[in-house]
Amino acid sequence: MKKFTVINTPVHNIDGVAKVTGRAIYTFDVKLPGMLYGKILRSPYPHARIKNIDASRAEKHAGVKGIVTGKDTLGIKQGIWRRFKELCDEEILARDKVRYIGEPVAAVAAVDEDTAEEALDLIEVEYELLPAVFEPLEAIKEGAPQLHENAERNINVTRHIEWGDVDQGFKDADYIREDWFKCSSQHHVCMETHCAVASYSPEGKLTVWTSTQSHYYIQLLLAWVLGLRENDVRVISRYTGGGFGSKFELDSAQFCSSLLSMKLCKPVKIVLSREEEFMATKRRTPMFYYLRTGVKKDGTFVAKEARAFTEGGAYTSMGATALYLTGFFQAFPYVWPSYRYDGYRVYTNTEPSSAMRGFGAPQATFCAETQIELIAKELGLDPIEIRRKNSMYPGYEVPGQAWIQSCGLIQCLDKIEKWVKSRGKLPPNHGIGLAAYGFMSGGIFNWFDTPYAFSAAIVKINVDGKVDLYVGSQDMGQGSNTTLSMICAEELGVRLDDIRLHMGDTDICPVDLGAWGSRETLMQGNAVKMAAAEAKRQLLEFATAKLSPNIVYDLDIKDRWIHLIARPERGLSYYDVVKEAIRGRDGQPIIARGHYTPHRKGMISPAYSFGVQAVEIAVEPETGKITLKNCVTAHDCGQVINPLGLKGQLEGAMAMAAGYGFTEDLPMDEGKILNPNLVDYKVLRATEMPETEVYEVETYEPEGPFGAKEAGEGLTNPTAGALSNAVFHAVGVSIKNLPITPEKVLEALKEKKKKKEG
C-alpha cells in the first residue's frame, strides 16, 4: 500500500464548486430582512482634538435611523496585545483625539448607502488642529508632536535580540559593510474590502457576519469593547475574500455596525469603500534599516548588527509583532555566530502599519539579501556559494530564540544553482538575482493572552460513515479547509468526500487563533490529526474485538478498509465497523477532540520553512523600466499536503511580493495617502506575470502533521531582494530603497555613469 492515500495528491478545494458557480455567500453578499446600511465619518486631519460633534442635522435627514459617535462607546482602548495594557491604544471611534487621516469619528445607519453617505455631510465636527509628525526619524526627535500620553518621543515598542559576542565578531571580521535601506509600505488589497453585518437581538445576543481571518479574535475583541459576555457574541465568517494579514484585528466596519445595531436592534451592514480600505485599515510596516555586517575573506559570516526604525502609524495594532519578527528574520536563514538587533516602532500621524503577509520578514529579507549580494561581489565570491557556506541546517539552534528541526535550504540552493546554470549567458541588460529565505509555521507567542489551546478540533463520525470535522481556523482563500479535511481523511483512513467540514462560526467551532502567521497547516493541522487519531482509536477498539487478531497484529485503516497492518487482506469495511460501533455505544456517534499548543519550541515558532528564489529580469537602460522574465522557486515546506493548493499559494505570493518590489507603494503628503484607488495603486496584472516554476524540496518536519510546515506566506519574503539583486546583475546598480521604480534605476545608472567619468 502506498504511503499516503489522501495527502500529497492534488485536489481542488472543497469549496471550489461554490466559488466557481457564484454560490459562495461572502459577508459582502449578506442581506437580512429589515437590514440598514451604515457609513463612517472619518477624520480629514492627521492630528486633531475633537471639540464637538453636532449630528442633529444628520439625525433629521430623511431615511437616517441612527448615529453613533465616541460618546456612545465605553471608551475602551483595545488592541491585540492584550497582555500589555499600554499597547492597547485604539478606540476605533475616537472620543477626544484623532491621530490619522481616516480615523473614524462617527457612524450613520440609514435605509440605504446613499442616504447614509448624504448624512455624513450633515454631521458637523469641530476640530482643534494639532501639529503632526509623519516620519519615524522625525517623530523620535526632542520636541516632536506626541501622539500618545504614555509614549515619550513617540516610541511605541522596542525590541532587542542578541546572541554571541557581536563586538568581538566585528574585530574578527576581514570585511565589514554598512548600509541603510528604506522599505516601503504596501497595501493588502483584499478583493473583498472590510465589511460586516451586525444583528443585535433584544435577548442581548449580537451576531456579526464579517470578512475575517480570525472569528475568535473578533468575538473576544467585540465582547470586550461592547461590554458583552464573550459567548453572547457570535461571529460568522464562511467565506473571506482575501486577508493577507489585514483581517484579524477589530476593524471599523465590525465595531461601528455592532454599535449601531445594538442601538437600533436592527441588522446593520457596513462595507468599506476601496478608498476607505486604502486610507483607514492597516498596511505593511515601512522600515528604515541599518545593517552592519562582518564576514571573513572566504565569506563566512561572523557578526551582524541591525537597527530598524519602523513607521508605526497612529496605533500599535500588530505592528509590535512585525517589529519582533523582522528582527528575528533579519538573521535568517543563516548561521550568525553573533547578532544584535534593536528595533524601534515609532508612532506617526499616519494609517497604522501592521501585519501583512510575511509579517516584517519581507523587509528584513530585502535588506539582508541585497547586502549579501554586495558583499559577495566585493569579495569576489559566488552568490550561491556564500549562501550555502552560511546556511542553517537541521538541528541548528538560533541561540535563545529557535530550534531548527527540518531544513532543506542546501537542497534548494542546489536546485536553483542548476536552473541558473541552465539559463546560460543572458542577453545584455538581463539579470538573474536570487534570495534565500525562511519563515515560521505559526507563532508561539500569546500576547493576545488566550487561555485556550492555540488550536482545537472536533471529529464526529456519523452512522453512515460521514465525518463531521469542526475547526476554528479560517479559510480566506489559502485553502486551509481543504488541507485540514485531507489531514483528517488521511489520519482516519477515509476519503476526502467522507469529510464534512464546519468552520467560520464561533457558536459551533472550537477555538483557533486564526489564519495568520502561517499557523493553520501545522497548528490546526496537528489538532485535527490528534482528533482524527483519537476517533480512529475508538473505531479500532471495536474492530479489534471483532477481528480478534493474534496479539502481535496491529490494526490500521486506509481508504475505508480496517485491516491488520501485517496482513492487509484481512479486514473489515469501515462502514460496517462504524455502524456496529455506534450501535454498541448505545447509539452515540463517535466523537473525539484534538488540540495543539506548542511547548518548548523556543520564542518564535515550532517549525520553519525554507527556500530560495531566482528572478530573471530585463532592464531597459534608457528608461530604467524593469520587465519580469522568469521566477523560479525551490521550496521546503516539509511534507506537501495538497500540491495544487501549494502551487497556487507560491505563485500568488510571488505576484504580491513582486508588486512590493517594483510597482506598489503608498506615497503620502502630510499623512494623506495619494493613491487610495486601484488606478493609481499598481498591483500586478496578468500581463506582468512571468512564467513561474516551483521545485518542491521535501523534508520531514517532526513537529508538523505528517511532517508538514508553512507554505505560501514565507514566499513573500525573497522576491523584493531577488529583484534588487537581479537589477544589480543586469545593469550594475543596487537599489536600497523600495519600490524599485524605473526612475530610481535610471537615477542610479546616471550616478554610476558620473562616477565612471569623473
Binding site: 500589555f84 499600554e86 515619550e152 518621543r153 515598542v157 532587542h160 542578541e162
Partner: protein, 72 residues
Amino acid sequence: MAYKCPVCSKVWPDTLDMARHVFGIADQAHKNWVNSKGLNFIELLLIQTMEPGNKGYKTLAELLEKEAEQVK
C-alpha cells in the same frame, strides 16, 4: 545566581537579560523606576541605536547590577 527585577520582581539569569526585559516591557512603572535612578529611559534607548556597542543596554545593566536583588 540570578537577579530579581526591582519593579515587577521577575527573575532573570543576568542583568543584560533584565535590561532587555525592562526596555521590552517599557511600561510606565519600569520607565519611572529607571528615571528615578538618575538615568533617562528614552535617552538610553536612543543612545542604543545612535551609537554602536550596545551602550544603552550596558548602561542599564550596570545600574541593575547595583540595584537588583540577587536570588539563588
